[in-house]
Each structure stands twice: as structure tokens, then as C-alpha cells.
């Protein structure tokens, strides 16, 4: 006892619900950071490309995109291993849409990164890159769908859990 409170044994850790622990897992935190960097960087590029014809942070966007791909693949494999099999519920549907949108975002991102790689890395040139407007538009909308459905999925899961506790 110390100051009226029972002393905690060294091998006892405070209880944290499994969800709270999972939300603080290093891989998920890394994924949120990469997603945040990509989202903010993407919005900046979207705005500046249109308003000023510039693409600030294009290289960081590509490199963080590669990191995001790796982190997302590992996370999604683990996540599906935990939540499988499929259930006909809103949180599952939103998660599936989010996953499809993420796959398409990354795929269109790599299509856009190809001319960037040829011009900036192979040719070491600073010329404007002729990105496909269709792929660029698809990448923008898919990115926004990722954010939309990931947040909606998370909201649905947390609300469902809160309702279950009541």
C-alpha cells in the first residue's frame, strides 16, 4: 500500500479493452500517419496543380504511397484474418467499399507514378509530366472514397460496439 492505494504488482498491466489496444497498435498508427500524409499531400497537389500549375511534394507523395501500400497490405491481411468470414452488416459493407477504393487508389497511383519515375528518376528532368487526366481524376476520387468509407467504417464499428455495451 502507498498513500492508501494498493501497490500494483510489476507484472500486472492496466486493463485496456481489446479494441482500444488495437487502435493503438503500432502498425495501425503508422497506417493512419501515412494515410494522413497522403491525404493532405494529395489535397495540396490537387489544389496547387489546378490553381498554380505546380505540384509541391510530389516526390514525398510517391514515396509515402509506396510505404502506405506495404503497411496497408500487412494490416489488411491481419485485419481480415481477425474479422473473417464475411457478414451481411453495414460495417462489413463499408469496410469492403473502403478496401476496394484503397486498391483502386493505389493502382491508379502507380499508373501515375510510372511517368513520374521515367521523367524524374530515369531522365532526371524537371519538365512538366503529362499525367493522364482520366487516371488523375480517378485517383482523386478514389482517394476521397478511401477517406470517406474508412471513416464511415470506423464510425459504424465504434457505434456498434458502444450500442452493444449499453
Amino acid at each position: 500500500m502507498s498513500g492508501g492505494d494498493p501497490a500494483r504488482a510489476g507484472n500486472i498491466v492496466p486493463f485496456a479493452p481489446p479494441r482500444a489496444r488495437r487502435l493503438r497498435a503500432p502498425l495501425l498508427v503508422l497506417l493512419w500517419w501515412l494515410l494522413g500524409i497522403e491525404a493532405l499531400g494529395g489535397l495540396l497537389i490537387f489544389f496547387m496543380r489546378l490553381a498554380a500549375g505546380a505540384m509541391p511534394g510530389e516526390t514525398i507523395h510517391v514515396i509515402a504511397g509506396v510505404g502506405l501500400t506495404l503497411a496497408y497490405v500487412v494490416y489488411q491481411v491481419q485485419h481480415w484474418g481477425r474479422v473473417a468470414p464475411w457478414r451481411g452488416r453495414l460495417d462489413y459493407a463499408l469496410g469492403l467499399i473502403g478496401a476496394i477504393a484503397m486498391g483502386l487508389t493505389l493502382a491508379t497511383g502507380y499508373v501515375l507514378a510510372w511517368p513520374w519515375w521515367r521523367v524524374r528518376i530515369l531522365a532526371r528532368a524537371h519538365d512538366p509530366i503529362a499525367y493522364s487526366s482520366f487516371v488523375s481524376g480517378a485517383h482523386n476520387i478514389m482517394s476521397m472514397l478511401v477517406l470517406t468509407f474508412v471513416l464511415a467504417h470506423l464510425a459504424a464499428v465504434l457505434l456498434r460496439e458502444r450500442a452493444g455495451r449499453r
Binding site: L50, A51, S133, T148, A156
Partner: protein, 141 residues
């Protein structure tokens, strides 16, 4: 000036989508069952048709040497409208999902959060209004 048919379609359909958004919120506000099918239809249509169209137009307008010669003000308007549309769409879907889940537990999400609801509606109206204004300035004036 020759107006692209899809621009006309998008400008008109945005008004119907806005009506759908207001209807979804009004139902919740008046404590009536959440129209999930309409919410889903409006969300998917807005994403796959209107936001996709806006993203494509923005991407096309920013290609170096594009045929579309835009003034700096119009470029800023395009960029601002594009960002706002994307954010407004994201917020609508997330709030709709929350409202749907809350209603299953007997709570009325929008009714119980008037400040959030009105803020969202103002943002949505600005987003749609700016798109209609750009369409008018670009093609009709």
C-alpha cells in the same frame, strides 16, 4: 459557346442530389425512418457521376498546354469548389452512416445535433452553389 452535355447533366443532377440530401436529413429531423436506400443511391450517384466528373474536369483543366484557357480567378474557383465538394461528400456519407446507426438505437442524430446539421447544410449549399456559379460563369455569361 458549346456546352458539354455532361456538364449540363451534372449541373442539373446536382440539384436533385441536393434535394435527396435535404430529404434524408429532414426525415431524420422529423423522427421518421432513415431512408437508407435513398441515402445509398444519392451517395453512390454523387461519387461515381458528379464528383468523378468534377475530378476529371479539374484534372483536364490542369494539364499543361490544355485547350481550356482559364483565368487565375476561375482556376482558384475550380480548385476551391473541387476541394469543398470532396469534403462535403465525405462528411455527408460519414454523418449519414452515423445517423443510420443511431436511429437503430432509437436516437435521431441530426435532430439531436442542430449545430452540426446546420453547419453541414451550409457547407453543402456553398459546395453546390459554387459549382452552379462556375457553370453559369463558364458557359452562360
Amino acid at each position: 459557346m458549346n456546352i458539354p452535355p455532361f456538364s449540363v447533366f451534372s449541373a442539373i443532377s446536382e440539384l436533385f442530389v441536393t434535394a435527396g440530401v435535404f430529404y434524408v436529413i429532414r426525415r431524420n429531423w422529423t423522427r421518421q425512418p432513415f431512408p437508407f436506400a435513398l441515402f445509398l443511391t444519392v451517395s453512390l450517384f454523387e461519387a461515381l457521376v458528379n464528383v468523378m466528373y468534377m475530378a476529371n474536369r479539374s484534372a483536364a483543366a490542369s494539364v499543361p498546354g490544355t485547350k481550356e484557357a482559364l483565368s487565375t480567378g476561375m482556376k482558384l474557383a475550380y480548385a476551391g469548389h473541387g476541394l469543398l465538394s470532396l469534403v462535403a461528400y465525405l462528411v455527408f456519407v460519414v454523418l449519414g452512416v452515423l445517423a443510420y446507426q443511431e436511429q437503430k438505437a432509437g436516437r435521431w442524430f441530426f435532430r439531436e445535433r442542430p449545430a452540426l446539421t446546420w453547419t453541414f447544410l451550409v457547407i453543402w449549399v456553398i459546395s453546390i452553389g459554387s459549382g452552379e456559379a462556375i457553370f453559369t460563369l463558364r458557359y452562360l455569361v
